[in-house]
Symmetry: C2
Subunit: 350 residues, 2 copies
Amino acid sequence: MATKEFTLQCPLPISDYPTVTLAHGGGGKLMHQLLEKMILPAFDSPLADSRHDGAVFEIGDARLAFTTDSYVVKPLFFPGGDIGSLAVNGTVNDLAMCGAHPMYLSCGFILEEGLPMDTLWRVVQSLKRNAEIAGVQLVTGDTKVVDKGSGDQIFINTAGIGILDHGLRIGPKQVRAGDAIILSGDIGRHGVAIMATREGLEFETAIESDCAPVHRPVRRLMDAGIPVRCLRDLTRGGLGTTLIEIAETSGYQIQIEEAKIAVRQDVAGACEMLGFDPLYLANEGRFVAFVGADQVDHALELLHSEEVSANAAVIGVVTDQHKGRVVMKSRLGTTRIIDMLSGEQLPRIC
Amino acid sequence: MATKEFTLQCPLPISDYPTVTLAHGGGGKLMHQLLEKMILPAFDSPLADSRHDGAVFEIGDARLAFTTDSYVVKPLFFPGGDIGSLAVNGTVNDLAMCGAHPMYLSCGFILEEGLPMDTLWRVVQSLKRNAEIAGVQLVTGDTKVVDKGSGDQIFINTAGIGILDHGLRIGPKQVRAGDAIILSGDIGRHGVAIMATREGLEFETAIESDCAPVHRPVRRLMDAGIPVRCLRDLTRGGLGTTLIEIAETSGYQIQIEEAKIAVRQDVAGACEMLGFDPLYLANEGRFVAFVGADQVDHALELLHSEEVSANAAVIGVVTDQHKGRVVMKSRLGTTRIIDMLSGEQLPRIC
């Protein structure tokens, strides 16, 4: 019987996880296990890579990047953004992380029966506005409606196509010992903004999501011919998880310094109060760039010329001391190993 | 206040439809109203067209097609297919309808917490198998998990990129009076297969979905240089709705003959029993091709050489008698006007 045959072949230890849990979508260990053991083997293609934000291939004389993300954020509207701004910027940023210039987006809606038409209208207007800001075109789409109770207001999928007009290969496998690690700005705001809205918390100052497109600073680096080794945005799993992925894939050690990682004071306060570590909080307008030590000053100068990365700073360095490890020097001078969370701090963060 | 401002601008008569209904996703009048009045104006691009299956544009020296669809079919598994085969073939077919050769697919999962891991495994294996059969590569993906009760097992979005290696413009606006309308095979099986499974109905013979990729017969037409005017697959809304869309967009009248439209006897029986009109039932491996009268014999010969279109036949002709109307000559010799349904016969058919 087909079902039984499939069960026998299922490569995940389904005795441990017979069903999908929220942690399987959290960007941590369980999600990586699910992707690498079950889903990626089906993506039987040299272009599919769990450790990268998109696929890069050539068609004719053009080199293209292609990526997709679904957005299930709850609530739909939050300080600094909404599901529409996420759906545009998330996919724009994934293309940028391939070193591509974003061009075209598709947009698929899954609407729940009973969704107020006005809510849909606000989301559609946000998509339009954010596509204009990012300079991308929404060119094709799809709308499905599911019965009440089978969805949650609005889910959006966007896929994107971008162009690479340079010959660089960008990815964790290009990282080398001695590379400097540049972080494009402060971290943790998106995670705190979502959580505060969801829990009805109020802080002295409004903490807004950092949701923004980051392709323009990336374009600056590409246009200037900076040989960037690796780019990654810091969404689900945050800075900590991203650096671990890069360390594991590259086979190098990553050393960072806590004191150099910008966390806004109100964000740090909220994290302390709520027991979150900003290192693992999701961001929607932040990325890390790995560049050779001799390129750092030029790269920083370029990044500082764009508002979204005006506070970019070097937070660490790549070494060949230990394979695949991330270590952080704390403010007190002690060193700790950064580990991947098994699940996630917050479900439905994006 | 932002909310109020948006409400005032909302272009749909929200007094009539203050919330999204299942019919807004059904492929009929309400869906077209939603798309054309609310969503398409946000797709502020000459490439976005509600009446076409994808966008076509040039990058470098390549002409590409780009399309997306989300799949929310219920149940996940049905005779002749499953959500995985739909997710591959639906997008492959949309690319084919642009006259493109499908190359790369993205795949975004939205999983509901509690989904049996074995179910996911079966769907992933189906995606893999169907991508192999269609000869496309799954190159990039995304996985999100939503809390129990906020989704329904598995939703899948696929987006696809295809190549056009010819200069033809294919679409409803290319249709001309005198064109012959070729239907690639019998209709109604997908709709009946889903409904029968959902309702627990059994027929004497199993009625299987026609779910299949149709890009190979299309490729035959392109390779032979047949100047195809318009291609459309017959998914949501079925043959009836598709022809109305083409008639309205082209500005011509479409005349079809009921006797020439193949409906399997068991499908016709099921429709009669359940009060469905096969003309509006969804198909997942059927399309119409509009070709000049002088090209019909050659086109049919090519289509007959591929299994999926072995029974292709001419079902009608384009005339300039009335603008944007579809008329059908019944088996009894009478003529009736085919109208678009306002909603759909079956929700969550794909």
